[in-house]
Symmetry: C2
Subunit: 157 residues, 2 copies
């Protein structure tokens, strides 16, 4: 299960205390908006959510704060190739590690997890004497919904 947002926020507080960083109203609002916002959120989307609660927050603050979240292990950056960075709860913060299927038609992102692939990946790294720290595994294509919307002719492709 996903940790409660209170627990996530406590982790952030602990990190900030350790580093001598300060707990500010902006960081609290951004954390709240991020923790219960949609997965794979962009800075722009997050800023919109944040400004619903505090219209004065600047976008540089959101950038800086998400960088902070990434440093302290709460968030992970994702790049799905559309030009803007997306953020999601890190594997440790969410229930477990996952990878992505990305629909090139409607941009929907489906999360998946496959233990066998993870195991094989570890084997590949070992084969090269490589210490794997993280990975990115993204499958691009067309999701079932968009496939259904295609004409029969196109679907037969």
């Amino acid at each position: 299960m996903v940790e409660g947002t209170a627990t996530l926020y406590a982790r952030l507080e602990a990190y900030m205390a350790k580093k001598g960083l300060r707990s500010t109203a902006q960081r609290r609002v951004i954390a709240e908006a991020f923790f219960d916002g949609p997965h794979h959120i962009t800075i722009e989307e997050l800023l919109a959510r944040v400004r619903q609660r505090d219209p004065h927050v600047g976008y540089a603050t959101v950038y800086r704060t998400l960088k902070l979240f990434t440093e302290c292990g709460l968030a992970q950056e994702r790049d799905f190739g559309d030009g803007r960075t997306r953020y999601e709860l890190s594997d440790e913060s969410a229930d477990h590690h996952h990878d992505h299927l990305i629909c090139l038609v409607c941009s929907t992102v489906i999360e998946f997890h496959d233990d066998k692939i993870e195991t094989l990946q570890a084997k590949v790294a070992r084969r090269f004497g490589f210490r794997a720290e993280r990975h990115k595994h993204e499958i691009y294509g067309t999701c079932s919904t968009c496939l259904a919307a295609e004409t029969p002719l196109a679907r037969a492709r």
Copy 2:
């Protein structure tokens, strides 16, 4: 094996002829520099190679030409997260499909291929009714050379 550069160039010529595009000195020089240059080359690196042969080539031309190579299936874009796009011969142009191990210390890129992972990937897509078109599988960590250079203490991490 990798196709000879003559064959690759012939494919490019065929594509350009089909599309009514023109064979120019710049495109020839860029193709030559790309086909026998290093894998995962950046625009800047490629431009440097190109300018050894023709100092007047502009960098917009290199961008446009690599986009052309990508369109016609000769090249593939890669993003290893360092801010610039890299280009390599496409799977069909080179011997076969491969993925990457990327060293976070020295930036070395190791190519790997694992049929079992490919098969499992296809299964994952099927499970979601997803038509997979391409994928990106990158493992980030520390390569064997950099591991060897670490202190015993750090290596035990």
